[in-house]
Symmetry: C2
Subunit: 94 residues, 2 copies
């Protein structure tokens, strides 16, 4: 059987703990990797989520494997605009 | 003579172009590396600055060498709180 794809948690406007719990659940269900993604103003929120999970829940057992930033086009025609993105790949080490 | 330390641009509440210009000036003054730093809500703004500089001013000649995220303690006593941080290291490739 092939390995399951790495799980993704997409960060939006919910309270920080909603996402922190979602990330923790992924790891507790046996995954060793989780990717946290966000766009625009939620990027700061995504970093907060990752830092809370790392410092409060996993105390050093969660490593940031990679942080990627980029740009996406949103909307069409006159409404089209660029929005920044972030992807933070987390790996459990124990 | 020792090499000058890598320059740092700290992102705050000013308009995006103020910081984008500052980053561009560093590279135009001969530096090959520039670090963009931000805390809290300004993290999203920092990613926007980097993406605008990369896509609009340097079109692919600027590489993201490293993105680090972390936590800093701000304030003292009862006022003490954690704030997330980001550091984006940019390198000119040409």
């Amino acid at each position: 059987m092939s390995r399951a794809p790495p799980d993704v948690v997409f960060i939006g406007k919910k309270p920080l703990m909603a996402y922190a719990t979602a990330v923790m659940m992924h790891f507790n269900s046996g995954s060793s990797q989780c990717t946290v993604k966000a766009r625009g103003q939620s990027i700061s929120h995504a970093v907060d989520v990752v830092e809370v999970v790392r410092n409060r829940f996993f105390q050093g057992k969660l490593v940031i494997k990679e942080v990627k930033i980029g740009t996406e086009m949103l909307g069409e025609g006159d409404e089209q605009r660029n929005v920044s993105t972030i992807e933070i790949v987390l790996v459990k080490t124990d």
